[in-house]
Amino acid sequence: MMEAVNNIVDLVGWEAIKLVIGLVGVLVVVVVNALVLTWAERKVSGHIQRRIGPKEVGPFGLLQPIADTLKLISKELLTPKNVERPLYFLAPVIVFIPVMVSFVVIPFDAYLQVKDINVGILVVLAFSSLSVLSILLAGWGSNNKYSLIGSVRSVAQNIAYEIPLLLALLSVVLMANSLSLRDIVESQKGLWYIFSQPIAFLVFFIAGVAETNRTPFDLPEAESELVAGFHTEYSGMRFALFFLAEYTNMFIICAITTTFFLGGYQGPILPGFVWFFGKTYLLVFVILWFRWTFPRVRFDQLLNFSWKLLIPVSLLNLIITGGILKL
């Protein structure tokens, strides 16, 4: 038995096996996380709106996401007549790939990380900007005016908010002297960067909320204007994939914020991954809180906010950080 395992290890190498196990683990985390978040969103929105949210399926309605998933899986996949079929089918698939890759480099615990790449953060940012491609494909392929407007908005929004996102992270990278996510967490042993880089934290979190298309920046799917935006024409499991990707993106942004500003998996007594998930879900709760409290901003206000406020502030922050470090 051991011999067989050794043979396989010799054949493909430890790294490859670790990667496969890691990817399976990531898949589990992604799905479970999305289920938990849909439940959390319903419960949080319920309590904010003086309701109780789901309570019939399972204790505290905990099995509600499973019931929803079953419903979505069993639904007929409707394809409207006039869609661009290849693009229309491709979009919900593409939306998922960048999401999966981002998970690979996130350090959940000191030793719980699929792969520590020395340019980890660049991988995350590069792949997260791919998700806008799938939104564009969905909007264009649906051949629907609401979808098209939604996807065009999404592209403009993502371009505008990726810049402050990157600039805010760069000031942390300057301080940590590394692009590897684990190094960044390790360098926060003494002081979390939220205290030494509060402006970068705010800019990053706001831009992150905008990147994930959540209220108050949910213009690509503004339901009072664009019905459902880019996923108007999607139903059943295809819609569910977009839905899943949205919640996973939300988790990734919060996970990156935790890694960069809240000390990642570090914390006393409790094991590292508990600290990591605790901090991440706290941030997720804040984003849910935003959604059920704030109105939506207007398109020009959204872009002005990024180009005229976030980018200059984060640039200034970067320059000051660089200057202080040099001294």
Binding site: R50, I149, P216, D218, E223, E225, F294, P295, R296
Partner: protein
Amino acid sequence: MVGKILQEIKASLVNVDFHEASYERNGYHLSVEARTGNSPEIAKFLKDRAFYIEDLFCVDYIDYVELVYFFNRYKELCRIKVTLKVDAAKPVAPTISDIYTMARWYEREIHEFFGVYFDGHPNLTYLFLHDEIDHYPLRKKAVPVPDEAKKLLNSYKPQEEEDAFFVNLGPQHPSTHGVLRVVVKMDGEYIISAEPVLGYLHRMHEKMAENRGYVQFLPNPARIDYPGALLLNLAHVATVEKLCGIEVPERAQYVRTITCELNRIASHLLWFGAFPADLGALTPFMYAFDDREQILDILEDITGSRLTYCYFRFGGLYNDVGDTFIDKTKAFIKRMRERFSMYDKLITGNVIFVNRAKGTGILEQAEVTKYGCTGPLVRSTGISFDIRKAEPYAVYDQVDFDIPVGTVGDNMDRYHVRMAEMEMSLRIIEQAIAKLPSGPFKAEKVPKKLKPPKGDIYYAVESSRGEAGVYIVSDESDTPYRMRWRVPSFSNLMTFPALAEGNLIADAIATLGSYDIVVPEIDR
């Protein structure tokens, strides 16, 4: 003051006949008959004197059809009825749509219901009906519709080599508040033009009224304006009472005032929930419904229904109110006052909300007479016009209240006006409850079958959206010869194309939300 205006009109207008009218009996001050088809000149004359177009409709007298124009003033109420007789066999009349923009819709409505053609109207197409109607619905005798008259407003084809594209907002759209359809021509995110298409909820209440007795029509007003059912119920009941000369006991009048104001708050709360939802904030909706639920419970106790109330009867009420009603209402006032301060903290000060609502959807004060808009929409522009003050009905002259007005007429002003109006309604209810007299709640000896004397009457109340008026022509039979509903949302919505033009679609949606339109009321 009114006398001076009337004298000026009498002295200046030529080629007209003045008919006797008394405000106490008919509800309007002066009746002018345009003898030589000179209604456009009269309209122009009145527009220069700050008259707004209150209503424009038609009555069929078999030999001839009569166009009836109502003009009124925001300052010093002075209601002028202008009539124009049109040959029934060959009905053609001059248009006033270039003077009063609102007449565009009124004339289209008359065109499809009576077959009257308007010279110079920019697009005389159907407004409510579909093109398979064989006969003009409101004519007394069957008059077939010629095929060439059946024109629908449905040709929206973009010109070639044009960047613009068309989007249909509605009839099924999350933010059109019912089945309203707006055809929007857009260039990117900007709106080039917007054209509301009506008729998806058209139920021909005016025709129904002609075919049933006055009592039988009682439930209908609640279907015309469902969030403010009691207010239109009152408009109908009070008009008939005035026409028949029925005296209403004081207690009934007080209860009418209290219940109407409760209904007004309920209606405004519905708007308060829906407006932030149009801006993307979904939570206020639930809070507003929580409060509205209290009102529904109170009104359910006395009226028996929760939405489409039919509580007022000719000469009084359906039944009396008891102590539980008083106690519950008092408790509600206390609760609501606390809620208002919470709403202020949650929404009024929210920076995103303020940025979205301030400076968008501005309605100019100088423009409002063209449309004849009323209610919070006109008050937001700074005109303090409220039927409750201008011509008090029920017991509004015995309670003390102010008319909240805005300054610039943007979405934020409309928000503030409505919020202040709710607080004002609480004040009215409080005073009315304190003064509520004992006594009968119903007039005695009201005949089961009403046969009002010959004549016509216009009577208006302030509904939660503006001036809701009823015009009745009685021919001494037990059914009205003609019943016309002047509804506020209809004239308010007409301002939308002008306000939407050149703006972002997000702002246009917010503006439409701030109007508080009710589609069954527009379509009737």
